[in-house]
């Protein structure tokens, strides 16, 4: 799972440009998925257990990551950009990026400290005032390498800090993608559609049509979620804690999980001896926000991973959290296969 995660993390995939991530997943899934299809938005849907009876599950993980898009090329060859997804402007100075289909390397730099005047040193440079420097000396030179509308992603190498903690970009939600693949390495007890969705970071858009296509009886969203447990792990504002196991959500900004399904998930974790934690905030949202509103409504729960520094060039997750989450997904599928979707 670590090798796949490394590959997925280093893949280029801002919202709307998920092809490279999808290609990796297609290669992974081709040997054992019973069907593989790509929908008009670019969602990848892999079906398993087609002949099985029982409620139809949808397991969703999003392929896209936050990034940028080039919206103007200056006469002197610099690129202007807009953010794609939620990024804090304060992290942008000194960022290294890759631009467009040719993955042209670029940098975002600011005025040297020595030449800042007045209050500049204490002020945040807005992303609209920043530039990407690709080394081009003129607009014409830049246009040979980059076109308007080129997507831009962080340029970050994956790294293992220990046997447990790994770092890289886009772990939100490539970790979810890797978990979904891993969870279905053994045949499921009921029909399952894995949906690798596009455009989550700009409004949960891929999941909406993926859910309409799959028409599931229930859904599980695999996500990477906020983790602010440093420097104070005991802070009530930590949301989650790295290494404390998979995260269950009672409510966030985009959905309130189906109560019966959530209780069944909790009982599954308890019965299997899987340590889990609650996301201690209602901030943030995920594909559940779209999926649960599909058709006549879909009972939906999230199983998330604590992810420090998500939406920056370098985030951290725990592999043991990931493994436990996969174990929980598998156990939950068996539980629902046995007991059905509560209330349905």
């Amino acid at each position: 799972m670590k090798e796949l995660l490394a590959q997925l993390s280093e893949a280029f995939g801002p919202s709307g440009c998920e092809d490279e991530v999808r290609d990796i997943l297609v290669a992974q899934l081709k040997p054992h998925a019973e069907s593989l299809e790509v929908d008009p938005l670019g969602n990848l849907i892999a079906a398993f257990g087609l002949g099985r009876s029982g409620p139809r599950a949808m397991i969703a993980a999003h392929m896209d990551e936050v990034g940028f898009i080039v919206d103007y090329i200056e006469d002197d060859g610099y690129l202007r950009f807009k953010k794609v997804g939620g990024i804090d402007d304060r992290i942008l100075p000194s960022t290294r990026v890759k631009v467009g289909p040719r993955r042209v390397p670029g940098v975002i730099g600011i005025k040297p400290k020595h030449l800042q005047k007045g209050k500049e040193a204490e002020s945040v440079v807005a992303s609209d005032d920043l530039l990407i420097d690709i080394g081009a000396r003129s607009k014409a030179e830049a246009q040979e390498l980059v076109s308007l509308g080129a997507y831009v992603a962080f340029d970050t190498a994956f790294h293992a800090h220990s046997d447990d903690v790994v770092g890289g970009k886009a772990l939100d939600d490539r970790a979810g993608c890797a978990m979904a693949v891993e969870a279905l390495r053994e045949p499921p007890p009921l029909p399952v559609a894995l949906a690798f969705t596009v455009q989550e970071e700009i409004g949960l858009r891929g999941a909406k049509v993926a859910a309409a296509r799959v028409a599931p009886d229930f859904a599980i969203v695999l996500e990477a979620t906020t983790c602010a447990d440093m420097p104070d792990p005991d802070s009530s504002k930590r949301a989650t804690r790295l290494g404390d196991g998979p995260v269950l959500t009672f409510q966030d900004a985009t959905s309130i999980p189906h109560r019966g399904l959530l209780e069944l998930l909790v009982r599954t974790a308890q019965d299997e001896g899987i340590r889990y934690q609650w996301k201690q905030t209602t901030a943030g949202g995920n594909d559940a926000g779209s999926i649960h509103l599909t058709g006549g409504g879909v009972p939906t729960v999230s199983i998330s991973l604590p992810c420090r520094y998500l939406h920056t060039p370098y985030s951290l997750i725990s592999l043991s959290d990931m493994k436990e989450a996969v174990r929980l997904v598998r156990a939950f599928l068996h539980r629902v296969a046995r007991e059905g979707v509560p209330g349905l």
């Binding site: 804090d88 304060r90 600011i110 020595h114 204490e122 945040v124 390498l145 420097p231």
Partner: protein, 365 residues
């Protein structure tokens, strides 16, 4: 020139791969000790400066000039000040670090047991308000997360461990190289490439390349280096502010337009004139960088070492100084190397005439 460009490029890639936070330059110094095999002598001193001497191989008349080429090897960084119970590391800046370049940056903590990669922690946008995102954190809020449990951190990290930025260099378009510590690996690469070229050339002067320590915390290595060498002439090779949007043209020099020859009180007019002649001789375009008082380079202390040293500055244009995305144009680095080699080859006792003052009347005998 094509050879020199390839050489400068290879050196730049190599030199940026070794950390050398001010006062903790040992990894780069050890590399240089091994690498500088083409010189006659290599030695170090108590401040951590590294010296490499190429002896003169041609006559220069009455006296063999002693030329000091000073390029600082240290880089800005951080130092661990305290370790929280959680394993989060608190840090202070070493040199002129702009906090705005640090948020979410990757770093390497250099411990006794080896390097540990980490990241400067930030709060995700999901958990901050819009108004929080317009405020910079303070140095006291900053911490490094090593992705290790607290016990592992406490057993491996000590206050005082140096922290360098984790960023590998890479090439942009048009021979532009980006990375951290190009201030002043670009200058050091130029100085080394110049000495390599000089090893094959006729040189009437003794040339001593000094990779100076602790420039970024107040040009301290150069103080000692110049005092102990007592050179007849010195050139500091460093980087200058290159053009970028938001900076006035008069504040900057241009990328790709050749090295700049600084002018001002810190620069001896005779030395500068010979640099101009050397540039003409080598057919190199040079720019002018006007420095009203302190150059902020090693040239500042060198000029006033002992009884005074005629000193010049060769400045390589560099964008986004003191960040991990600094950019230089390799052509500028190669041309600086060519210029330095040409200057050294032209430096004879005769050409230094008058640079060291004169006795106007009386006698000490």
């Amino acid at each position: 020139m094509a050879d020199l460009r390839a050489r400068a490029a290879a050196l730049l890639e190599q030199l940026t791969s070794f950390p050398a936070v001010s006062g903790r330059e040992e990894p780069l110094r050890e590399f240089l000790k091994e690498h500088l095999t083409f010189v006659d002598e290599v030695w170090t001193d108590a401040l951590g400066n590294l010296y490499a001497r190429l002896k003169a191989n041609a006559s220069s008349g009455e006296k063999t000039p002693k030329l000091m080429l000073a390029a600082h090897m240290d880089e800005i960084g951080l130092v661990v000040t305290a370790i929280e119970k959680s394993g989060a590391l608190r840090v202070a800046p070493v040199g002129g670090v702009d906090l705005r370049n640090l948020l979410a940056a990757q770093v390497i903590v250099h411990t006794q047991g080896g390097p540990l990669p980490g990241v400067i922690g930030t709060i995700p946008p999901h958990l901050t308000q819009a108004k929080d995102r317009t405020q910079l954190p303070s140095w006291d809020d900053l911490y490094i997360d090593l992705g290790l449990d607290a016990e592992a951190v406490l057993s491996r990290v000590r206050p005082g461990d140096p922290v360098s930025m984790r960023r590998e260099g890479t090439w942009l378009a048009n021979g532009r190289y980006t990375g951290k510590a190009l201030d002043n690996r670009a200058g050091l690469a130029a100085a080394i490439a110049a000495c390599e070229a000089l090893a094959e050339r006729c040189r009437p002067a003794d040339v001593i390349l000094v990779a100076t320590a602790q420039e970024e915390v107040g040009m301290r290595g150069a103080v000692v280096a110049a005092q102990s060498l007592s050179p007849d002439v010195a050139i500091a090779i460093d980087v200058g502010f290159a053009d970028m949007p938001g900076l006035a043209r008069r504040e900057t020099i241009q990328m790709g337009k050749g090295p700049a020859l600084s002018i001002g009180a810190n620069i001896h007019p005779g030395v500068r004139e010979l640099l101009v002649q050397a540039a003409q001789e080598a057919e190199i375009d040079v720019q002018v960088e006007v420095l009203p008082a302190s150059s902020g380079t090693d040239a500042w202390p060198i000029q006033v070492a002992n009884q005074g040293v005629p000193t010049g500055i060769v400045s390589i244009p560099l964008r986004y100084m003191h960040s991990t995305v600094e950019v230089v144009d390799i052509a500028d680095v190669a041309q600086a190397a060519e210029l330095l080699a040409q200057f050294a080859a032209m430096l004879t006792a005769e050409r230094m005439g008058g640079w060291h003052g004169e006795r106007i009347t009386g006698s000490t005998e």
